[in-house]
Chain length 352, copies 2
């Protein structure tokens, strides 16, 4: 079989980190004798400035034909007022997630050798946040009346369905079973009673079917405290779209690694390609200087292989990354001063 | 003038910490020759179990007559299944905030001598979160259809008005002017476009009237990263009800002091009494053992004095707390092993 990948390098440091991820993935696939084709799509803020396209129906249709999408980062320089704030995020990134039904937004959070956490005592952390990706307050269901007057009212509606919550909860329980068997539901059901009640009943029902998994519930505010004071307690966190957005940035911060955080936006039913991307942004301030860290993009590639069932290739790649991070941790200078390409080269050399 | 205070000790450790706060406040008021009366109200989970009352209209009317309310903590033991989950939070705590129009939920976050933060390098932190208190997703405007079926849909609606946003933004700018002149608006306007747009325009308009304050905008997810990596950058944060809930727990965690975090729920127009309470909960697991730390309750009392214009008394009290925390920081054992009353006694002795 040949895997047919779409690549969206995007803006800023996106192209630089994706170049490394792509050649490393190619090497891993080669040595597993897996054939792959790569089709690059020019999308993002620059592309919009050049062409006026955020994501046309035609491009979306072409993307649908691929087996998976490797995504870099998008977003203009915040100083660049030609790009309306939030446009690329909504009309490209969120549009991809919603159109391709990316119900499972998967965000592993872990410490690696040599990366210091900002926490005292430098704890070991290894959990995964399974964030819902197609519902909640992200649905764009808001409105404004009397805009600009003293009587303005603005609303935002969070939509939560049994269908949407069930599939992400099922995925989270399955992951917990393959991991350390612990699941934490994070919500705010004492305030958001209707949505919270749906989430809770759904988790209770799934728990009955997964007796090997023990679970607990945590309010989102309390979860931030635990994530700072005792992040080692988490194994799998399942939560809604907005809470997941907040908690995964916090998770990346406490593990010390925005530069290492990988993610997958997964179509649970396989009706459209899933998408894999580093959590970091396009970092326009350091773009084009070959100083960005490609590790998160490479690890997102490993998640992609994993998702496609290329389990061995995925773990070879992960191990190569871990080995290289461990090696840097031993060296006095670590990876300091290495270019984006040199970092990629080093990981490549670990593939043996 | 006589100040007429209501006191709601509540559940768990509430009565223990409020007892200390009250006698310390009384001492401060005495030496300022300010007369005060205190009326205790039995409310909370235990009271509900005894009487079935969460907060009757009659009690609410009586509370309205006071100058301010000192609140301990409410909430049953989570093991106690007789108390429906969320009932006391919604029907007492949130009902007070909404009925008494507590638009400004004020939550200072700072480090104190001797309290270690969980962050490496133990940074100095001193900011205040001005959280909106009467709107947003907290309004209880949700619904469910087809409950329990595969077609269930649950909604939560966030309501945001010019009136509500303006008054909290005005308060935040005024505070920033009295502090270090920096304000950060936290929202998620790239996703919650309608509410985010209202918040942003409101801040822009207020900024024009407060040229001495410089301000910036931060997405809530990014704000969690800064709070972990660089909390010293914040001076005044203004944000919505839900984001404020999440960020203030995170703030209490990074400052190392849930046991020290004070808060005020303030009626901006003075049409009803404001309420002051420690951020910590009722901690049923350690209740009745005289081991709870009363400091957050005492500092909430200082916020209350401040709010009532008793500025000198408020700063005397704050200074006493700071002096005592500094003294403990010098001692090898610190405050370890001291009872709730002994801690209160120590603060009292610092009042001189
Ligand atoms: C860019 C933004 C719309 C997006 C989100 O809120 O989901 C980002 O923060 C993320 O976490 O992927
Ligand atoms: C108890 C709960 C309703 C409350 C809130 O969400 O506001 C609490 O978390 C707080 O921050 O005061």
């Amino acid at each position: 079989t040949t895997f047919d990948f779409a690549v969206i390098p995007g803006d800023g440091i996106g192209p630089e980190v994706i170049a490394e991820a792509r050649r490393i993935l190619q090497a891993v696939l080669d040595s597993a004798s897996v054939e792959a084709t790569w089709t690059e799509y020019s999308l993002g803020a620059s592309h919009w400035k050049d062409t006026g396209e955020t994501l046309s129906e035609e491009t979306l249709e072409r993307l649908r034909g691929h087996d998976a999408i490797l995504f870099g980062a998008v977003g203009a320089d915040p100083q660049d007022t030609r790009v309306p704030s939030g446009l690329i995020e909504r009309e490209l990134l969120l549009k991809l997630r919603f159109s391709l039904d990316h119900s499972i937004n998967l965000r592993p959070a872990r410490t690696y050798p040599g990366t210091a956490t900002p926490l005292a005592g430098d704890p070991e952390i290894d959990f995964v946040v399974v964030r819902e990706g197609t519902e909640g307050p992200y649905v764009g269901n808001g409105g404004t009346i009397r805009r600009g007057t003293a009587h303005e009212l603005a609303t935002e509606v969070s939509l939560n369905t049994a269908h949407g919550v069930r599939r992400v909860v099922a995925d989270a329980f399955a992951r917990a079973e393959r991991r350390r068997g612990r699941l934490t539901l994070v919500h705010k059901h004492n305030v958001l009673t209707h949505a919270g009640d749906l989430w809770r009943r759904t988790v209770e029902a799934a728990a009955a079917e997964h007796p090997a998994v023990s679970w607990d519930y945590m309010h989102v505010d309390a979860a931030t405290i635990h994530m700072v004071q005792d992040p080692g307690r988490f194994d799998v966190i399942v939560t809604d779209n907005l809470f997941g957005d907040i908690l995964t940035d916090l998770a990346a911060a406490v593990t010390g690694g925005i530069g290492l955080a990988a993610s997958g936006s997964i179509n649970a039913e396989g009706t459209a390609p899933s998408m894999f991307e580093p959590v970091h942004g396009s970092a326009p301030d350091i773009a084009g200087q070959q100083i960005a860290d490609p590790t998160a993009a490479v690890l997102s590639g490993a998640l992609m292989l994993q998702h496609l069932g290329l389990t061995e290739a995925a773990s070879r790649l992960e191990q190569a990354v871990h080995a290289q991070l461990a090696a840097w941790a031993e060296e006095p200078e670590g990876s300091r001063g290495l270019s984006t390409a040199q970092r990629g080269e080093a990981i490549l050399s670990r593939l043996g």
